[in-house]
């Protein structure tokens, strides 16, 4: 094929059209798939309540989470209370 700027321009336009066509087909394919097979959230595990009789390791976790949360939201640890921790 003759290598001229006009030929390169033609190739570029043709190629970009092909790329957009292929990817637009993919967009519709994905949209159809997502519509046909919707996401279903897995059943949530039962929540575990933090109680006074919780094991010492969990107390440590609560303390660490409380301190991090306090630093993040800018409140003192006494101003809020963690009532339960859900494992994911």
């Amino acid at each position: 094929m003759e290598a001229s700027v006009s030929a390169a321009l033609n190739v570029s336009m043709l190629a970009m059209s092909v790329i957009f066509t292929v990817l637009i087909i993919l967009i519709f394919t994905i949209k159809a798939l997502v519509k046909l097979i919707p996401y279903e959230a897995p059943p949530a595990p039962p929540a575990r309540k933090v109680s006074a009789s919780s094991p010492p390791e969990q107390d440590d976790q609560v303390a660490a989470i409380t301190a991090s949360l306090a630093a993040h939201i800018g409140k003192r640890p006494e101003e809020f209370r963690i009532v339960n921790i859900q494992s994911r």
Partner: protein, 411 residues
């Protein structure tokens, strides 16, 4: 044999490589050391540039038989993996095993950003033709704008094998420079308000969709552009390993050990092709310049299309994610996040940018497929035995030996 100290000393002196070392070799050794320096001290894609630089060093030591053209040499054997399209697709399988298509599936319209960023490929193609390259060479140079090393190597080995070394070096060097090249262009083409746009949380995607997606892409893209099947097919196979949930060992192997091993072979093989004859040419300088143009236009194309999507969606799309359409996973997505968070530290664009980022991988593979359809020899039959004969020798004696052993066992 009579021993003469002086003649033996003279023989040893004349057998050293110093006697045949010319200025070209010396300069290439300097370039090899520069690549190693950039890899170690500047952290420029060290996983690639370090073995590539060292391969270049080995190849340019005279009489070492380590250049890609030295038939029977060690690195010539590795180079067959590029020549016969083995190594880049295996790397792509590993990349597929590492890729999460979730952000793309949650917002599929960002695939258009991956397409728009390919404008860099075609602007470079035009520039390369303007500078005197033929169409095949210009296509191989243009794909540098796809910011995808294996794709660049794959296409160069098919369309312009004599330009493989400078193309690979340019592609990987500029990929490592993405954090320097992209931000000024992104800031230039967007307003402060646009950079502050916060995008909606991505919705979760069913695992079944994630499993079906690689099959759908393979069918759609490979049927339309069969030349790209080795790359895209292996990319999607790697992703199937990841998403199927039943091939944990294959997934782990593909994303860790296999990709690492093949990266060593690939980079050494590319380095071994960097000899003075193939690299110290005016074309190399042109390719280095065109590579920068490719990355700049690809970034601009993605960001401009991002702005269009921003307008069309009523301000729901942050145009900064468009720059991630250049591929260069995941660095380009990180750059989108970084530039966005400079305007608003509470703006998290990373996951949104991963969508166009992986779309860019598909886009650049499709762009390579278009070039192969136009200028390659797609569909031509390849005699595998004949192709491998120079590498592994004639396998027939081995087969005969095996048949003999079988006969002995039978008796």
């Amino acid at each position: 044999m009579e021993f003469s100290f002086s003649s033996s000393t003279s023989k040893i002196v004349h057998s050293t490589a110093f006697t045949t070392l010319d200025s070209g070799d010396a300069l290439m050794i300097g370039i090899a050391c520069l690549l190693v320096y950039l890899a170690i001290w500047k952290k420029f894609e060290p996983l690639l540039l370090l073995p590539m630089g060292f391969g270049c060093l080995l190849a340019n030591i005279p009489m070492s038989m380590m250049a890609s053209t030295d038939t029977g040499g060690l690195l010539n054997f590795f180079y067959q993996g590029i020549k016969h399209e083995v190594l880049p697709p295996i790397i792509f399988m590993g990349v597929g095993a590492l890729t999460d298509f979730g952000p793309l599936l949650a917002n599929p319209t960002v695939l258009l950003l991956g397409a728009a960023a390919q404008i860099g490929v075609y602007m470079t193609l035009i520039g390369a033709v303007f500078l005197g390259f033929n169409m095949q060479e210009a296509s191989a140079i243009g794909i540098i704008g796809g910011a995808d090393g294996p794709t660049s190597i794959f296409l160069a080995s098919k369309l312009a094998p004599h330009l493989l070394a400078p193309i690979a070096v340019a592609a990987y060097s500029y990929m490592s420079l993405v954090p320097l090249i992209q931000p000024p262009i992104m800031r230039l083409l967007t307003t402060k308000e646009e950079r502050k746009i916060k995008m909606e949380q991505l919705k979760p995607i069913s695992q079944t969709v994630k499993i079906i997606f690689p099959v759908a892409v393979t069918i759609v893209c490979c049927l339309m552009l069969p030349g790209v099947t080795p790359l895209l097919g292996m990319f999607m196979l790697g992703n199937m390993f990841r998403e199927s949930g039943v091939t944990a060992r294959l997934h782990e192997t593909a994303e860790t050990h296999l990709i690492n091993i093949v990266t060593i072979f690939l980079a050494l093989a590319v380095g071994s092709s960097m000899t003075a004859e193939s690299f110290l040419r005016l074309e190399t300088l042109k390719i280095i310049a065109l590579g920068l143009l490719a990355f700049a236009f690809a970034t601009a194309g993605g960001v401009i299309f991002g702005r269009i999507m921003c307008k069309v969606s009523g301000g729901k799309v942050n145009p900064l994610i468009g720059s991630a359409g250049v591929s260069a996973v995941p660095m380009a997505a990180r750059v989108s996040q970084k530039v966005g968070s400079e305007e608003d530290p509470s703006n998290f664009l990373l996951m949104h940018a991963m969508g166009p980022n992986v779309a860019g991988v598909i886009g650049s593979a499709v762009a390579a497929g278009v070039f192969l359809s136009l200028f390659g020899d797609v569909g031509s039959s390849i005699d595998t035995h004949a192709a491998l004969a120079p590498v592994i020798g004639n396998p027939e004696p081995g087969m005969q030996a095996l048949a003999t052993v079988v006969e002995v066992i039978k008796q």
